[in-house]
Amino acid sequence: MAEVLGIFEQAVLLALLRLREEAYGRAIRREVEARLARDVSAGAVHATLERLERKGLVVSDLGSGTPIRAGRPRRFYRLKPDGLRVLNQTRATVDSLWRGLKWPLKGFA
């Protein structure tokens, strides 16, 4: 059975794709906030990233610190091949659900 990601997991993984080498916690949170058009807590993003890393869909490395961060390092995240595969599976499943329906939906409510 195809593994299907939730909306928030998709938003985080797609943020990694868009941000490429700049995908660290704060940048990911801002990208997800912009795409979902709502406030997103740092806790929600970090919990999701930790879960995706445990599932083997992303990998992370520590970068260097900056003065504004009081020297604390950034953790940069990258998509693993399995992450890309699951994103593609998710998209295929969603496309399959919508196939044959005209969007936006009308006349059923």
Binding site: Y24, G25, R26, R29, S41, A42, G43, A44, H46, A47, E50, L62, G65, T66, I68, R69, A70, R72, P73, R74, R75
Partner: protein
């Protein structure tokens, strides 16, 4: 003028993030605090923003456990009010054991993540405090729906309303103690596994 977030919030964050992630998570929050929140909102609002973010981490770790803890209390209260027993011994034993088990497992788990037994104490306090809100709210809702003479008699026999609305608050101290024990177990287990 201070241009850093409250120290206590940073210290609290340390307990609810894994050691390997504390530096980068607190760095992300500090960067946003200094770079965009503080210049745009001022010290007080920026501090509130920082505290809210930290509480988000606390909530993610303890929220579910607090609902379980409070839910168990509400279930016991509902049983006592709606299906009053002859004696309360068995129910007291079961509900006390359940409450202790929830606190022990939750605090051991959080201490395992952070590696510090103190996390267990803080988790125990947080779960008991949030659980008190759930317990008191649940009991108040139950009372709003059921306050017929038979139920009111059952309430009096089961310890009265004082017990229902006061006990959850009094459980915060035992919550810290049980949480500390759970924290010690979790931290010791982590040390044993890592050794």
């Amino acid at each position: 003028m201070r241009t850093a977030p409250p120290d206590w919030a940073d210290a609290l964050l340390r307990f609810f993030v894994t050691p390997e992630n504390f530096e980068n998570v607190s760095g992300d929050l500090l960067e946003e605090y200094c770079d965009s929140v503080l210049p745009g909102s001022g010290q007080r609002r920026a501090d509130r923003w920082y505290v809210r973010q930290v509480l988000g981490f606390v909530w993610r770790t303890t929220g579910l456990w607090a609902f379980l803890f409070g839910g168990a209390f509400v279930a016991r209260t509902a049983l006592d009010w709606l299906v009053p027993p002859v004696t309360f011994d068995l129910r007291s034993t079961v509900s006390t054991a359940l409450g202790v088990a929830i606190l022990l497992v939750a605090s051991a788990r959080t201490a395992w993540r952070s590696g510090s037994f103190l996390t267990g104490s803080i988790a125990g306090l947080t779960i008991a405090a949030l659980g008190a809100v759930v317990s008191i709210g649940g009991a108040a809702a139950l009372l709003a729906f059921r306050h017929d003479p038979a139920t009111m008699l059952a309430i009096r026999h089961s310890g009265g309303l004082d017990e229902v609305f006061l006990l959850p608050l009094l459980l915060m101290l035992p919550g810290v103690l049980v949480g500390t024990v759970g924290g010690m177990i979790g931290a010791a287990m982590k040390r044993a596994v890592m050794a």
